[in-house]
Symmetry: D3
């Protein structure tokens, strides 16, 4: 089998993580998985949602959007249609859950981090790129909070573990890593995997688009994902180590 | 470990599937997984959504709702708040995708099946109960279509495979089957599995609520799910075999 | 004249009132007027709406809904269309007004009772069935409140009077009681009557669907309604007397 | 008993019906019941709603609104809050049903009449004033249609009967006609009556605001309404006879 | 060139300002610019919007609407379509900004003035008529506030300057004042001007509907506007001087 | 006076126009006015809105949005709040009108161009940057249309004139060009000017934020704008001349 992208089955697209992409947000990252480009900003505000008041913890919430012409065909602007679609809500719930798993919310104080992931160009894997990039923006925002004294200046950042995400799929019967849009459209199965840098699973979401998938295929896909995520964790660290 | 429900780790709750529960719909099932009770109706209408016109196939779509006091605390009526929440949209997308995987839409003709899953009492696992019960209601509706001549009276029903769903989780470090609400609230991991009666996976959606889960735990959970689903497929067949 | 239902002009359909139909709500009744089936739950929450704060009284509010396929043709789910229709709002306002007339709100304390009436199968008279059944669920909820000490354990329930409702109409020139859907569709006049068990009127809502109706017809209809409501008050009492 | 308004129990407020109040609509009336002032316009458009296509009849629909400061306290603009409230929907459904009863829709041709009733000043009885005034505007619009040849120039107008509406109530134990706002606020019972000029009832909507009302009170109220409506029918005719 | 209206290029339509047009509002004006008729009410409420709390100033906000048949063709009721259109929002933002410029908000105390401008008949220039009439209603409302002691009884009204508005345009190559609807539809350029009685500009909003306009045309239009506004300021003063 | 930005009164910020910024749209430009950055895409679709059908012309419409954290404080995502605010609607109406003035819609054929202007970083002047950049993206899209044969391959592009926009204001009593956010916040007057490359005005929108502005100030501001726009037209041409 040859992938449409010409990549080998276990090969990520070229991944770039650009920090401080815009100037206002406490954390701001442009993440690129090949032609997929997502701006991830993190905004820090005092206070927590009503259901957490008095519980002595912070919060993180996420929103996701796509520019109308991020895609091959223009999609209707959600602000104009008056509601976010089911796909959007599903993705932003996933991003929020995943990033909360990275943090120790009890050490975050009375703050809410709002993560905005806006896709400016889509070519498959927007949600996994968003999670991977937003993790870096969250670390940047936490550093800003510490500098400003919103977090204890001497304590470690309230990060329990780094998380990252990647998609895998079954394409023409074979497990492949990090599907771009043509591959995703033709895939029989699509699986999104969120892991921690310590190797645990945070989310596993697999869908048979065509034929059902087998235990063996699931195992192969998870192995591919694990390999790809190791690379992504290294790329996150490299980005964070770079002089800002 | 003892489960709050007192069940063994691989034990389903008592499951009941009552066909023809209401009188108007082409298919109508009350499905009970213990205290979780969901009315699943299937409505058949001529025509297909705009994006399928002229493509020579039918369609199935699903909607999900909960009565406001199906839960321990009253939740706001979505009709009154003016929109369906993210959880609702996520669940109804899952139900629709899963049931479409059961059918051969190309043999359905110019018809749309609308599946309504309305939870009248919730105790965990509403989405898996809904999928399992709705599958039976879909078969009933297809039989009505054949009787009315909307499907070829001599052909087989356009069912590629039966599907069913069950939840599994990690509770106090151990994999357990079919979590009720107290177990679900305390679970470290929650995994919903949709399979075909031939043993393939349609959907696998796992979320670490607390600690990340391991490959081994995933494997244990999937094995438990597979066992539970065999029982559910048998219960579906028993219900369908009963004199109506 | 023979009614489509074969009933005599002053004959109710078979009425059943099942208490404790679901397990979470403070009051939960399934009421059946023949094939019309409505789940009525009562939820008790502390606090009152803003416009009553500091006025030293409680409140009762009602919401009404129909499952999409409660009817012969599927109707669009109001949660999905984004608003409740005029008919829904009109009915839930009627239910709320009627039930508030039954209570002494000044003795209810700082509590709000939310009554949810959800039609799971419709065959005419859903609003009158809902009111009649919800009255029983309200009494059950008040008893729960007294048991929990939210109401004075030694005082009487804050019920001024029982209320119930029934529809009457003019069918082929003759007044008939408790119309089912085929009768309602063919009726020239439709009148909904809410009364107290002491014989007073709470609501009288009559509409000429075809020809205008006369004073004499109105008098006949009200007499029929009064007779039917006596039976309904007896059925409410029987349900409430039954061992729970 | 003395009414707050100083009127006798069977006395209407001063009623004025001004035709051609605005210049664009096919029918346009300002109706005043004392301080209550409502602009009623009728717009004629070709075509009928989807559910009537091919049924060879016309249609009439009504909408109701209040300017935000038509009332003593400003009420929120419904256009701004994003939806029409339950009271608004209930009233506009009543206006539409009542006016449709006046017409022979089968003789209306393929046209829809849209009646807009906008309250510019409110002092009780806005819905009954609206119905009474809109009836005149409908006749004006039908005359315009006949002049333009949209209706047969030689045929009679498709009016089966004139209709009008008035409110009655029980105030301090006594039945009184045409309540203004202070009387309405203090009334024990509020009854809106829509009749035809031939003496038949189209709508009877009575609500006990405080104590339940009795058969005798209902009879007294209906008699008062009948008297008031005779006057209103005469006023409608006088307005229609006046040189335009 | 002859204007469709037959007026000279610098001639206003007949302008009428009727104070106390409705009875409930603190200020209530019917303003007529020829056939354009707008009801302007001012409602005074205690408190200010959240973003001004603690800033020791008052506020003024405006809303604009049109009755559905204020226009030649019926337009959809915004309350029914569920949102205010872009034109409506643009106009009400303009009205609010303009009137705020007239007041010294720091001397208004903890009050919000809500200005409602509702067009009952439209013939071009509704926004400029609304601003001109609402200015008078604001003065009336401030006088009421002073009488009630909400403003210092001995201080001057917190009016920095009177404002008024008029439209000008280029019609068949020539600048003309106060366009009615047929002129507006045929104009090449449309310019709305809001000025103070001291001769300063508050708003200048010009749009080329057809060909671009030149500096010279802009200068001519502004001169015409200035002349017209002088007349409008005189008419405002005359209205305010009249015995109420 | 020294401007906060240190620029001279007639000095633009550094302006960059990057074509083909994203890969899917027929035209895609990143426009930067200093720190203000806007992505402008143009999507071409067959067909025109209903009100233009059969009128033998094309159409152009525009939408505007801001990423939530494009600004110093995060603003609520409009897709999530369920509607576009008044400012957004006002700006996108301005963009659409301005760009339509650039085109000869009668030569566009049965096509609609949808222009999406999404602000990824805001520092004042987002609407003028959007118009200036979108003009270039429109030309690119028209070229694509001609290449694809949707426009006559031998005819000129249906561009009547280039348009561009810039803001001017009065800052500390002096007219200044192209205000950034700190200047805009402190300005007494804010004027947005849209012109054609032939020197005509398309839109002039001036607002006194503080004191009213005078004729002289208006004249100075327009002169500054005219100078700035000449530079912007040159920059548009330079961008369009560059090898793609």
């Amino acid at each position: 089998m040859t992938r449409p992208s010409g990549r080998s089955a276990d090969q990520l697209r070229e991944v770039k993580i650009t920090r401080n992409y815009t100037c206002h947000a406490e954390g701001s990252v442009l993440v690129e998985f090949g032609q997929t480009k997502v701006i991830c900003t993190v905004s820090v505000e005092e206070g927590v949602p009503r259901f957490l008041r008095g519980k002595n913890q912070g919060w993180l919430t996420a929103e996701y959007g796509m520019l109308p012409r991020a895609t091959g065909q223009r999609t209707r602007r959600e602000a104009s249609s008056g509601k976010q679609g089911g796909r959007t809500l599903e993705i932003q719930r996933l991003i929020g859950r995943s990033l909360r798993a990275a943090l120790d919310l009890c050490k975050l104080g009375d703050y809410t981090l709002t993560v905005d992931c806006d896709v400016i160009q889509a070519d498959g894997g927007t949600r996994t790129a968003a999670i991977t990039g937003a993790m870096v923006a969250v670390v940047d925002a936490l550093n800003v909070m510490r500098e400003r004294g919103w977090l204890d200046k001497k304590a470690e950042l309230p990060v329990q573990q780094m998380i990252a995400a990647v998609s895998v799929g079954v394409y023409q019967g074979e497990a492949v890593l990090d599907l771009d849009y043509p591959e995703d459209s033709g895939a029989e199965t699509d699986l999104n995997v969120v892991m921690t840098d310590a190797g645990g699973f945070i989310e596993v979401q697999g869908t048979a688009e065509g034929a059902p998938f087998t235990s063996e295929q699931l195992t192969s896909m998870l192995a591919l994902a694990e390999g790809g995520l190791k690379e992504l964790f290294a790329l996150q660290q490299a980005a964070l180590s770079a002089v800002n």
